[in-house]
């Protein structure tokens, strides 16, 4: 299956199994002829543009890229990309993608999903993909609402949310998708936002460079049913003060003036302190132990007044796909290719003349 490739750009030992593009590609090469059908103003447009702009960077043959989605507004995504794609059923995209990726190491397989699709009905599949570390890139558009079904609360909606299904306010405590992924042994976990093209592109790049499952939460505005959910992170006047940009190896400092930092507390959590206070941490996304990344995931707008974006965790461990395919290669090399007639005759036979 190994393909000699002289791709420029992004690379990892699994991506290197995917055939290279015959030549340079542009955004247009990844744009399908289908009319885009989201509400005007929906954050999905910006994400689409960013992804279409990013894909050429991979330098791999367009026909070896596959996008699999579930159901939801976000899950319309594959239709708009001139790659192979499947718009499947609600919550099940990770299962389909797992079968595809593990049987076709020469493909780059992406999953697009929503907060409901991924965390409500599809939660189990998402988390099992993460623990297995299948070679998938999972983009979860988190608008904290069910868009397609017209505005019920989702597993990431804040408590007390008034929606069509909760006229008296929702009662469920939301998931923190980053904490959840880390608890499920994820090897790559990141967060970005629809409106910040440069940041999202950098996260996509890192995800593509990661061999194994990459989970990317993308804050996405649903201007129809949950408008403004991420406004503080977007508003020029506030965003620098409420956004902590995670950069591996760099100190955890933020603020318009770079005057705030993150330090450990006695109870094992993290707190915001002055940037020049002692003990301000340096971000380490590749620690073998996910505990500090987990602690970072507990830093939120609600509790700390600041939201980290960027890569929480990025560690390289064996992938399910490689191991599975290695077992096959090993079996063939040790035992030889299977011989069907030999197999079915088994050990004990008798012959009747």
């Amino acid at each position: 299956m190994t393909v000699t490739t002289n791709r420029s750009g992004i690379s990892n030992r699994l991506l290197d199994l995917v055939p290279a593009a015959p030549g340079p590609q542009s955004r247009k090469d990844f744009t399908s002829d289908q009319e885009v059908r989201w509400c005007p103003g929906c954050g999905d447009y910006a994400i689409l543009a960013t992804v279409q702009g990013f894909l050429p960077e991979l330098g791999i043959a367009r026909e070896n890229v596959v996008f699999i989605s579930g159901i939801g507004c976000s899950s319309r995504f594959p239709y708009y990309l001139q790659t192979y794609g499947m718009h499947s059923i609600h919550g099940r995209a990770p299962t389909i993608a797992t079968g595809l990726a593990t049987s076709r190491p020469d493909l780059s397989v992406w999953v697009v999903t929503g907060d409901g699709d991924a965390l409500s009905i599809g939660g189990n599949h998402l988390l099992h993909a993460l623990r297995r570390n299948v070679n998938l890139k999972i983009l979860m558009f988190n608008n904290r609402i069910y868009g397609l079904t017209k505005g019920q609360y989702s597993p990431t909606s804040e408590v007390g949310k008034i929606t069509k299904s909760t006229p008296y306010g929702s009662l469920d405590r939301p998931y923190n998708p980053v904490s959840l992924a880390l608890g499920a042994e994820a090897t790559f976990v990141a967060r970005s936002i629809d409106s910040d093209r440069a940041h999202l592109t950098s996260v996509l790049r890192a995800a593509a460079e990661h061999p194994g499952t990459a989970f990317v939460e993308i804050f996405q505005n649903c201007n129809i049913f949950n408008d403004g959910a991420f406004d503080p992170l977007k508003d020029r006047s506030t965003r620098d003060d409420v956004t902590l940009r995670l950069v591996h190896g760099e100190p955890l400092v933020f603020g318009a003036e770079g005057d705030k930092g993150i330090r450990r507390t006695d109870d094992g959590g993290l707190a915001v302190v002055s940037a020049d206070a002692p003990g301000v941490l340096v971000h380490n996304a590749s620690a073998a132990d996910p505990s500090q990344s987990f602690a970072l995931s507990r830093v939120t707008g609600d509790s700390h007044g600041v939201t980290p974006i960027g890569i929480f965790r990025n560690v390289d461990v064996p992938t399910y796909d490689e191991a599975l395919n290695r077992q096959i290669v090993d079996a063939k090399s040790k035992q030889g290719d299977g011989d069907l007639m030999n197999l079915i005759s088994g050990g004990e036979t008798w012959t009747i003349a």
Partner: protein
């Protein structure tokens, strides 16, 4: 009584049914399997029926914990594991209690007297000792102190040093096997070789078991309890090379073969469930055939992964039982809409719900037909015997790949675990199912060549299969209705109606690509037709034989394809006065047949978790014929 060794009579029989019964921990399945192996090598035709509790180790000594294995072997071809045992080996009182009701009077009964302690009698629910209270008067009883003789034999044997009492006692099943091997003149070399191999890492255990086995054999030779031994001559069977095979193993091999024959890698996405798990176990051994197995987090992920693999050009397979099919329903609907190949194996078991998980039943037929939202037709194939599972799996793969459709393969617990001699096919007898993917555009649009993923083959109505990695054919598919041909999302009313009918026509068209229904009517004058499907083939055929032997006429036909039915089915049904459909459900095929052909088919239905008995069906047939 006398000191003189009596001459023993050897009686020739044409067929024998033996049953081994003991505690779940007594190794009855192994004993039965090994006796079967000896019998197969000897050249008898045979059929087996294992029967075990749903618990891993149900409570020792109780009837609920009894595990049984029945074997029918003969000097002619046979069709069922036998209605009632000619000989029962009962390792303890619970085994006796649980099985005695099946034993016809006059049958041989071998009991392990050592196990008839007052504690065990109580656990088995016996108020008094059946060995002494007259319960067994109508049987030929052989009282054998099996446990103690085994321990003595083991401890007297060189090479079994280091074997403690408990381990020695565990060999008592081999004592029983030795005795039975002697009684029926079975060849013993295979068993000794088997034991040496099985316990290669613990030679002392191998020695102990062989000692017990020989002791059992010799016990028969020396005791006077047995005045008769039995011989069953080898069967005259079609010439060729045979092996013994169970349904699940044959089905697994059929899937591996389907991979070879289609030229596609097999991808199995599965979640363990009784009685289907063994297929997952078996296929996970065959990595050198390029078979990928994926134990998924649940049944939905199992089928999802298989469908994903099919999208990528593998032959996706998922294996499960009834409750798992229920969970897969939504994804099966997606597969119908995507029109991708997929083999869905359902090893039916007793339902509804968890039901009787280790017992057999045929009650998923209508679920397979209709268990999805919307109009979502899926072809259905069913094997008729353990060995036939091989061919049925290949046929399911043929339809799936040729017609780009999910296909149900409906086996059941009886076929799965039952076994029979299987005439090995030669490579040349296997069909060529090579598949070719689409690699070129198939339509010319305004701007030049295009790829239309739903442009159908005019003959099969199958759509093209263009897999990721094929340049220029990039396309998107999904579960929303698609425009005919082009395959873009379409909400157009007329298009939806057309697509619904096209999908139905594609599946219906398979009727032209399968053999016609064959009728077995030796006299050519029968007025009653028995129609069956799946694992009831053996009992039905055996029942027919019996009534024909009485001079009555009956015709038999058996459906391999349940959707669509063979093209000539209606014609055949209408040419008989009466149609009888025996099923291990409340009449599911009958429902389909009546709806399709308006034939007033009569049902004979039992939902007991057990296969039909030949005698029972013969009785029913006689009644129907004579009515």
């Amino acid at each position: 009584m006398s000191e003189q060794v009596r001459e023993r009579e050897t009686r020739r029989l044409d067929r024998v049914v033996v049953r081994f019964a003991g505690d779940s921990g007594d190794g009855m399945q192994l004993t039965g399997e090994q006796f079967t192996s000896e019998t197969a090598t000897f050249g008898n035709d045979l059929s087996t029926l294992p029967d075990f509790p749903a618990e891993i180790r149900a409570p020792a000594g109780t009837p609920a914990g009894v595990s049984g294995f029945q074997l029918h072997f003969s000097d002619h071809d046979i069709l069922t594991p036998g209605d009632a045992p000619d000989v029962l080996v009962a390792m303890n009182p619970a085994a006796l209690k649980a099985n005695l009701k099946d034993l016809p009077s006059g049958a041989n009964l071998i009991v392990n007297t050592d196990a008839f302690t007052s504690g065990n009698l109580k656990k088995a629910g016996y108020a008094t000792d059946p060995l002494t209270d007259g319960t067994l008067d109508e049987y030929v009883v052989h009282r054998v102190p099996l446990t103690s003789m085994t321990i003595t034999a083991v401890h007297a044997t060189e090479g079994s040093g280091g074997v403690n009492k408990k381990e020695a006692e565990r060999a008592k099943n081999m004592f029983a096997l030795g005795l039975m091997s002697w009684l029926y003149h079975r060849p013993t070399g295979g068993t000794e070789a088997f034991l040496n191999k099985k316990f290669a890492k613990r030679p002392e255990i191998a020695a102990a078991n062989i000692a017990a086995f020989r002791a059992g054999f010799n016990y028969g030779e020396t005791t006077e309890s047995f005045t008769v031994t039995y011989e069953v001559a080898p069967a005259r069977m079609k010439s060729g090379t045979y092996r013994r095979i169970s349904g699940n193993l044959a089905l697994s091999y059929g899937l591996v073969a389907a991979g070879e024959l289609t030229g596609l890698p097999i991808f199995l996405g599965s979640y363990p469930i009784t009685p289907a798990s063994d297929i997952l176990h078996e296929l996970s051994k065959h990595k050198r055939f390029g078979v990928r197995t994926f134990q998924a987090e649940d049944e939905i992920a199992g089928i999802g992964s298989a469908l994903g693999a099919s999208f990528g050009g593998s032959l996706g397979v998922t294996t499960t039982s009834g409750p798992g099919v229920a969970l897969k329903s939504e994804t099966i609907g997606l597969a119908v809409s995507l029109e991708l190949p997929l083999v869905i194996v359902d090893i039916q078991r007793g339902g509804p719900s968890t039901g009787l998980p280790t017992k057999t039943e045929q009650a998923d037929l209508l679920q397979a037909m209709f268990g999805r939202n919307g109009e979502a037709p899926v072809p259905i194939v069913a094997p008729r015997s353990p060995g036939d599972c091989f061919d049925a799996a290949i046929e399911a793969a043929r339809l799936a790949t040729k017609y780009r459709t999910p296909v149900f393969l409906l086996s059941d617990g009886y076929l799965a675990n039952g076994s029979e001699p299987w005439l090995l096919p030669t490579r040349e007898e296997l069909p060529d199912l090579r598949v070719s993917f689409t690699t070129e555009p198939n339509h010319t649009g305004a701007k030049g060549p295009e790829f239309w993923p739903y442009l159908r083959d005019p003959e099969t109505l199958a759509r093209p299969w263009a897999i990721p990695g094929t340049p220029g054919l990039e396309h998107r598919i999904g579960g929303i209705e698609k425009s005919d041909g082009q395959g873009n999302i379409s909400y157009d009313p007329a298009n939806h109606d057309r697509m619904v009918r096209l999908r139905a026509a594609k599946v219906a068209g398979i009727a032209n690509d399968i053999p016609p229904l064959e009728v077995d009517d030796p006299s050519g004058t029968a007025q009653v037709l028995v129609l069956g499907w799946g694992s009831t083939f053996g009992p039905i055929a055996a029942g027919c034989r019996r009534v024909r032997a009485k001079g009555l006429q009956v015709a038999q036909a058996h459906l391999r394809h349940l959707n669509p039915f063979p093209a000539n089915t209606g014609e055949i049904l209408r040419s008989y006065d009466k149609v009888l459909i025996p099923e291990m459900n409340l009449g599911q095929l009958r429902t389909l047949i009546r709806a399709e052909y308006l034939v007033d088919a009569i049902g004979y239905n039992q939902v007991r978790g057990l296969p039909f008995k030949a005698a029972e069906l013969a009785g029913v047939l006689e009644d129907v014929i004579n009515q």
